[in-house]
Amino acid sequence: MQNRSGSEDVASKKMADGGLPVIARFEVRHRNYLAPDGSINRPLPAFASDADLLTALYRAMVLLRIFDRKAVALQRTGRLGTYAVSLGQEAVSVGIASAMRGEDVLLPSYRDNGALIWRGVKLEEILLFWGGDERGNDFSGPVEDFPFCVPVGSQAPHAAGVAYAFKLRKEPRVAVCMFGDGATSKGDVYEAMNFAGVHKLPVVFVATNNQWAISVPLRLQTGCETLAQKAIAAGFIGEQVDGSDVVAVRAAAEAAIAAARDGQAPYFIEAVTYRLGDHTTSDDASRYRPADEVQARWKEEPIARLRNYLVDQKMWSKAEEEQLAAECHEGVEAAVERYLATEPRRPETMFDHLYAELPEVYAAQRRELAGEGDV
């Protein structure tokens, strides 16, 4: 949180080194409720008394993990393309998306499968995308949400543009932009945050700090103590949350989205978590990351943490756990069947939706591809 000191304040402050007055001070808060073992570190936010909501968050994280495992299996057996796993960081995408309204707009990065699922994107649509089919981006659910952004951080300026449109039209909607720790090194992200700060746009930036940008650790990504403090340079609040504590993520997202919607200011959330899996199915993290580091991080992972709390609070039982697992497997298998049964596209459809109306000069190429005569 920031605290710009007034001029009177400055005069009364103790002089800093060299007798120069301190003109500004900034703070960054860290939010955490559940300890890694599921015990409570501080009083929980109001929503946590809603057992249905907490179990919904839990169910979404479990579904994501089961979906993830299946997606990797599909990739390993040649039925899916390169896939980015969410293992270990399920609480971030689920917690953030859970605080959004349907009419808000999500601008996800490629590892935010959990947010898409929460927002109503179908599992088979996500599989279609990772299976190399554009139709996977034609969401039937949140029709104004952006597709996965693959070039890192380049969707941040889009989020600012979306939020500007909301503000111009006086619509009480919020753009939520998600990216990883590596993206905070890009000018795109800073340029977008800077603009959002100038116009106090209804946008929330979420950095999932999973410690690794493929093989590059956070210490080589930034000299800052936190990523959250990058928001201070853009003129708004940056908060760090325990990204493996879904209660903390949800609480931070609620506060951020409410502030953005009210037109107070943009908001930045750094969700500190850990990527327990490889970067993607094309990566082998053992090349650059010691096994004992990963092993230690398994003790903090978000699903067991929330389960321990729920069981402790008598909100969750072994029977429910077994039923959930069965339901998730069944749902995922059914989605995989629909994915695999999707009718292939004809080659010439690659020209579809290139322009609103395909110019005649390219229509000839389309005809050639369709076997309807030479160009």
Partner: protein, 326 residues
């Protein structure tokens, strides 16, 4: 109907588009109270307010990325990049997002944005202010690239670009911003995109060009006429997608073709036109296709830039040579 310069016609088209459609938003560096460094947006902020005519922070990538976000949300953003040499941070946004979001989402999301930028050398401007890298843009599928060469076409083509449902890069010929004058009627009528304009009919040789270079090309046609050579002059106007039929039709008539552009030769857009003619117009050719272009070197700074750019003399020589070929 009143006579105005090319940059005034651009201003008129912007005002007309903003008047007609509340979704049109103008953004860029210094486009507000200053009216743009070339004054293309002068008066717009006073008339339409700072929310629809906004001075952005000094960040070109941001301008293009904001345009994508706004356009996907249903606004019609018109971004300005002060000089073409500062357009390059926008290439990521143009290639990776603007030009493909319609295709990648199968039409669920679209990107009706315009990015305007001055194009070309010849005003003795500082370093990086004299670029003509249109071929790079014309290589991007899903994008439209437009460049007018007169006030009338600037007005009509810019209105068309703003109304078009897909992303358009609108290049403005810096050298003739004020040198080109003409009658423009503020009738709100757009000109068609993807259509080339035949500025002058002729039988002996086709001269194809775009933007400011049409000034020299038309002068060359005059000079050739005094030698008894009638040149047909084609203003390509839209480089992506371009009007292949008009190019091939003209070459079929004249049998000779000289392509004139300010940009460097290798991989320039003239190569694309020459290849088209080789593929589909070869039998009508009476002489090899010729290119009169900028040289394959870095655009010189102010003192030498005029030697880089095609001159009337170079165009006339190339056309004469084509006519004498046997």
């Amino acid at each position: 109907m009143s006579e105005m310069t090319l940059v005034e016609a651009i201003n008129l088209a912007l005002a007309r588009a903003m008047e007609d459609d509340p979704d049109v938003v103008v953004l860029g560096e210094d486009v507000g109270i200053n009216g743009g460094v070339f004054r293309a947006t002068v008066g717009l902020q006073t008339r339409f307010g700072p929310e629809r005519v906004l001075d952005t922070p000094l960040a070109e990538l941001l301008i293009s990325g904001l345009c994508v976000g706004m356009a996907v949300q249903g606004l019609k953003p018109v971004g300005e990049i002060q000089f073409m040499g500062f357009l390059y941070p926008c290439i990521d946004q143009l290639v990776n997002h603007a030009s493909r979001i319609r295709n990648r989402t199968q039409g669920r999301l679209t990107c009706p944005m315009v990015l305007r930028t001055p194009h070309g050398a010849g005003i003795r401007a500082p370093e990086h202010h004299s670029e003509s890298t249109e071929a790079m843009l014309a290589h991007i599928p899903g994008l439209r690239v437009v460049i007018p060469s007169s006030p009338e076409r600037a007005y009509g083509l810019l209105l068309a670009a703003i109304r078009d449902p897909d992303p358009v890069v609108f290049l403005e010929p810096t050298r003739i911003y004020r040198a080109a004058k003409g009658e423009v009627e503020d009738n709100g009528e757009a000109l068609p995109l993807d259509v080339a304009f035949v500025l002058r009919e002729g039988r002996d040789v086709t001269l194809i060009s775009w933007g400011a270079m049409l000034k020299e090309t038309m002068a060359a046609a005059d000079a050739l006429a005094s030698e008894g050579i009638t040149a047909e002059v084609v203003d390509l106007a839209t480089l992506k997608p371009y009007d292949e039929a008009t190019v091939l039709g003209s070459v079929a008539k004249t049998g000779r073709c000289v392509i004139v552009h300010e940009a460097t030769r290798t991989g320039g857009f003239g190569a694309e036109i020459a290849a088209l003619i080789a593929e589909r117009g070869l039998t009508s050719l009476l002489a090899p296709v010729a290119r009169v272009t900028g040289y394959d070197t870095v655009i010189p700074m102010a003192r030498l830039e005029q030697h880089m750019m095609p001159s009337v003399g170079r165009i006339v020589t190339a056309a004469r040579k084509a006519c004498q070929f046997s």
